[in-house]
Amino acid sequence: MAKVIGAVVVDQEECKGCGLCVVACPQDVLGQNKQVNSRGYHYSFMKNPEACIGCSNCATVCPDTCITVYRVKL
């Protein structure tokens, strides 16, 4: 079976830290950063980037459309 690896890019300034993407991720890739952005929100980031499969579930649930998803088939 072809292995799929993915990556997400979170727009840190747009993210409002709602945490919906963290719950939607089936691979437990995303987490909320301890740092805050300029508006004081704990933005999402890839805490576990190796596990990402690029399924785009996080981008689908993001209310502020601040996630871009990339995927490569090996």
């Binding site: 990556a7 719950v23 785009s56 209310p63 990339y70 995927r71």
Partner: protein
């Protein structure tokens, strides 16, 4: 493979819809409005109807909807979006018109307008965001508030004896012969959001084909006024809203001709 090799335009699978503007949405973190705005932008882009779509924005949290999607918009008075949409679609029958309303706007203040517009079978799409509360004004009880639900005007929970019963407006509208596609969706999980997107797309196609009014209710959260985190609000919605507002299609005659029943016999 390094992260910088994966993050490459050739490997892109999901990006922001081109119709969404660069403005940061004013909605609270985790608000369902943001998801539905994005679905609308994606559907309009997919159907390639950007230059002939006119949205009618309501009064409520989504009053600034015109700032976020690059189409023509008209602002309506409170609850009157279906009346304004009727005027637009009757004078411009070649345009694709949709009204975007919340539950305070549609189910309380604009009940007469929505029922009569749907009963006349005006050819537009109605997107109805139902979070069971008046969001913008501070979480007061709406007609759709559940029995026992705590709001700022029912601090001990809604009581049927004093406040009446919640209104299932989508079920009412499904009875009307003027409607073509009536459905209730939600937008809390990736699967539900993909289904919701399909429903919105179907509603727009029915409006383009002049099949009558299409009505898409989206059961939503208002985590700020429910006083929960966005994730908890989704769980609360699944546990409490879905039993009373079941998800699914209520009417689908988008493939058939509009009903024309007459009791008069010669």
């Amino acid at each position: 493979m390094e992260l910088k090799d994966i993050i490459n335009p050739n490997n892109l699978v999901y990006e922001k819809a081109k119709l969404l503007t660069e403005n940061t949405m004013h909605y609270c973190p985790g608000c369902t409005h943001g998801v539905v705005h994005r679905l609308l932008a994606e559907v309009i882009e997919e159907l390639d109807i950007q230059d002939k779509t006119i949205g009618v924005a309501p009064v409520g949290c989504s009053v600034f909807a015109y700032k976020y999607i690059e189409i023509d918009w008209q602002e309506a008075a409170h609850g009157r979006a279906p009346a304004v949409a009727t005027g637009i679609v009757r004078t411009n029958p070649d345009k694709v018109v949709f009204a975007y309303q919340g539950d305070g706007d549609l189910a309380s203040i604009g009940t007469a307008e929505i029922l009569h517009a749907c009963n006349r079978g005006e050819n537009f799409v109605v997107i109805f965001i139902n979070n069971g509360i008046y969001g913008m004004t501070g979480g007061q009880m709406a007609p759709t508030t559940l029995i026992g639900q705590v709001t700022s005007t029912t601090p001990n929970g809604r009581d049927a004896g004093r406040n009446g019963y919640p209104l299932k407006i989508t079920e009412l509208i499904a009875q009307l012969p003027g409607t073509s596609y009536v459905t209730r969706q939600s937008a809390h999980t990736p699967a539900a959001i993909r289904k919701c997107r399909k429903a919105i797309s179907k509603a727009f196609q029915a409006a383009i084909a002049k099949k009558g009014t299409s009505f898409v209710e989206v059961v939503s959260t208002c985590n700020m006024n429910w006083k929960m985190t966005p994730v908890k609000a989704n769980e609360w919605m699944e546990a409490n809203m879905f039993p009373f507002y079941p998800i699914g299609d209520m009417k689908d005659s988008s493939k058939s001709e509009p009903e024309s029943y007459s009791p008069i016999k010669n």
